[in-house]
Symmetry: C2
Subunit: 150 residues, 2 copies
Amino acid sequence: MAVLTNALDKLLGYQMRRATAVLMADFVRTLSDFDMRPAEVTTLLVIAENPDCSQSEVGEAIAIKRANMVPIIARLIERGLVARTRVDGRSLALRVTDKGAEHAAEAWRRIAEHEARFRDRLTPEELETVLAALPVLRVDVEDSSSGNGQ
Amino acid sequence: MAVLTNALDKLLGYQMRRATAVLMADFVRTLSDFDMRPAEVTTLLVIAENPDCSQSEVGEAIAIKRANMVPIIARLIERGLVARTRVDGRSLALRVTDKGAEHAAEAWRRIAEHEARFRDRLTPEELETVLAALPVLRVDVEDSSSGNGQ
DNA sequence: TATTGTTATACTCTATAACTATA
DNA sequence: TATAGTTATAGAGTATAACAATA
C-alpha cells in the first residue's frame, strides 16, 4: 500500500488531535484491567481532592457538562467509590469512600506510568515548553466576551 | 460556586486532552456554516492531495479505520465532492471533483484562520518546540513490536 | 492467504433542550 | 429568577468482528 502525503501534518490543531488520540489510547490501555473509563477516573480524582464538592463544581473543574456528569457520578456511587449527602435540598456534597480512596491511589499509580511513557520522549526543556504552552492553548476562544462558561 | 483544585492540571496527557478539546470546538465552529465535519474535511484534503489513492490508503494516512472510512467516503461522493473509479475489482481510485477542489480550497482558508487563532498565542520559539514535540508524542506505544498498524 | 471494501454493532464522549425542586 | 440535578436524545468518533469479492 502506498504511503500518502498529508499536508495536515504541518498543522498545530491536527497534530494535537493525532497526538492526543495516541495518548488517550495508551491511557485507556493502562486502565484496561481496572474497569474505569477516563472520565470516571478524572471525576474520582477531583472528588478525592475536594471533599464535599458538588457535582456541578466537579463538572466545571474538568469541563464536563452537568447533564453528562449524572451517569458518571451514578456509576461511581453504584460501585461504592463515592458517597453523597444532601446539603441544602438542591445540592449534594460528594466524597470518596475508603474504597474510592484506594481506587484513586491506584489510578494515580497508573497515571504516573502512563505519563512517564510520554514525558520520557521529550527533553526537560521541551517538556517544560509544552507544559507551559498547553494551558495557553486551552483557553477557550469564546471566553473573551463574558459567556456563561458552559 | 467554589473553584476546585485539580491536580490533573500538572499532567501532560490531561492538558493535551483539554487543549485539544478547545481546538476542536473552535474548528467545528469554524466549519459551522460549511456543512463539513472534521473527519470529512481531513478526508477530502488528503484525497485532493493524492489523486487516485485508495480508501484504505486515506484511512492509513489519517488514522481512521477502514470500516469507519465507508460512511465518510459515501457522504463525500453523495455530495459530489469525490468521485471514484474501479482499479482492479477490489480497489477504488479516489479523486476530488471540481466542486470538491473548490471545497478543499475553502477548507484550507478556514483552517488557516483557525490555526492562526492558536498559533498567535505562542512565541515563535514555543510554537517551534511544540510542533517538533507533537509528532514524537504521536508515535504509538504499540508500534515498537511490528504490529499491523490498524 | 492476505487485502479491499463493506455491514452491523457497540461504546465513549459530547451537546442541547426541557423539566423539577429548590434557593 | 437563577441554580443543582436530572431526563431524554442526538451526534461524532472510534472499535471490533465478520463477510464477500478479489488478488
